[in-house]
Amino acid sequence: MLLTNYKKSAILIIAFSIAFASCSAKKGILHSNAKIPVSSKIGIIIDSPNNLKNVVLALFMKRGYQVTAINASDLYTFKDVYDIADMKKLSYDMADDTVPTVEKTYENMYKLHIYNFELNKIQFLRQIRDEWRVEYLIILDYKDWEKVSWARVINLRTFEIDFIENYPTAYTDNIETITNHFINGISGR
């Protein structure tokens, strides 16, 4: 009898711990350094089909934002910066041995291209700001119920992240309700 009671308690504790751990990963977070004024010119990045993208853009425009749509896939091309010419030069065979010097060379090559890729992106963001006069870049990702949708706002004048939010998608949410939720947080309304 006593053992059964202990077993029940143990099962309850384990179940509670698992639920707590998974809950804490899915809890919402929000941090805002500054409100984004509704008259601002914004660029929006979302990786969604065009019909859903239009819904999102329309909601921002309805609130007064001047919207520029940017395709996530066109924004940055990793291959443009990853110069494989250097890799080709090293393609001779060292049998099965990967000597540390060769390993170091390959790793450093990859490292440098990561940094050059990030540099390329920063330069592109400057171009968006200088040529298209975009003031803020808003990155949105929509997830289904039981997952977490998120938003991030980059201030292109200061080159800082001004706003972040993780929003656990509710059962009754759709793309409109989530977008309106984010707009409320971003605009401070």
Partner: protein, 348 residues
């Protein structure tokens, strides 16, 4: 029976210290070579390693071997009067690993700073059997302050050699602007940013200006090695490992390709620090307020991480640490922030 139990208890009592010593890693020290021709400072070539070895043994319970106790090291040291030939290079490590028994080999050089009473030390740490060498610099006063320098070097060695694999130059400034490169993305990256923003840091959009991360759980490991102005954790590099065969049979075209291959190795292996300085300088020009790039590599479960913190304006490695555990990304990130902002101290 009582007598038997007493004997057992006494045996265990005497064995524990011995077991503890057996478990401690064995550190072998080489001479720290004077890089100048001023032989007034040559006495430090033995003083530095002996002093650091003493601290490692007495304060941190490591087993140590000073250079004069290692025949292979002493023979190398006494067989030449040429300073540059006394300096241990990456090429020598394979031979030395077979010449004597130790877990870790510590060696280095020092340079007295002209017209001052200061000396700059460069210390290298190599775990026999591994492919990497950790090297860092430290500067201190000569005279009676020399032991303070040795103690600080010993503290850094202890933090690195221990399971934490940690290093710290100094704490990073609070409320500075940082950029984070990581293999996490989306809502998890937001969590990481949240921890920094709560602590007053300003976040650069570097890496976070995209929905997806180009660094995955495997490729982030390539960012573990690092080469900065004051410290490096890098693969052993030796030109002799590369077989760039050529001769009178080569032909012009082959020789041209060979030179291009050699230049690639020089650029990415032997002179990589210059490449890094150039790219960091370009990034710094794009974002003048950016102070640090922090590389955070999470494991597959995203509950353990390592980090590297680089001062982008001077290409200085500020700190790094491995095996930082937590239940969530925010918890791990908070521990990283705590580590980066606390002063240099022994990690228990």
């Amino acid at each position: 029976m009582k007598r038997f139990l007493s004997i057992i208890a006494l045996t265990i009592l005497f064995c524990v210290p011995a077991l503890r010593l057996n478990a401690a890693e064995r550190l072998a020290f080489g001479y720290f070579i004077n890089t100048t021709n001023n032989d007034e400072y040559d006495y430090l070539e033995e003083v530095f390693p002996k002093s650091i070895a003493g601290t490692m043994r007495n304060r941190y319970n490591f087993r140590t071997m000073s250079p004069h106790r290692i025949p292979a090291i002493t023979e190398r040291y006494t067989s030449t009067i040429n300073k540059s030939e006394k300096i241990i290079t990456d090429r020598d490590l394979a031979f030395l690993s077979e010449a004597f028994t130790a877990d870790i080999f510590i060696y280095g050089t020092f340079t007295p700073v002209e017209k001052t009473n200061r000396v700059k030390m460069k210390i290298s740490v190599h775990r026999f059997g591994s492919d990497t060498v950790f090297t860092f610099e430290d500067t201190g006063e000569l005279g009676i302050e020399i032991f303070r320098l040795s103690d600080r070097v010993a503290m850094r060695l202890k933090n690195y050699i221990d399971k934490h694999t940690a290093y710290k130059l100094s704490a990073i400034s609070k409320k500075s602007k940082v950029a984070i490169l990581s293999n996490i993305e989306g809502d998890e990256l937001n969590r990481c940013y949240y921890a920094f923003m709560k602590n007053g840091y300003r976040i650069s959009p570097l890496h976070g200006n995209d929905i997806y991360s180009r660094l995955d759980d495997d490729s982030i490991k390539k960012m573990m090695t690092i080469e900065a102005a004051n410290a490096s954790l890098e693969f052993i590099a030796d030109k002799k490992q590369l077989q760039l065969l050529h001769g009178t049979w080569s032909g012009v075209k082959y020789y041209k390709e060979l030179l291009a291959t050699r230049d690639t190795y020089n650029r990415f292996s032997f002179n990589f620090r210059k490449e890094m300085e150039q790219v960091l300088s370009k990034i710094s020009t794009q974002d003048k307020e950016l102070e640090y790039i922090i590389i955070i590599g999470f494991n597959d479960d995203h509950d353990t991480a390592w980090y590297r913190c680089i001062d982008i304006k001077n290409n200085r490695l500020m700190s790094f640490r491995s095996d930082i555990k937590g239940d969530t990304v925010d918890e791990v990130t908070q521990k990283i922030i705590t580590d980066m902002t606390s002063p240099l101290a022994v990690i228990k």
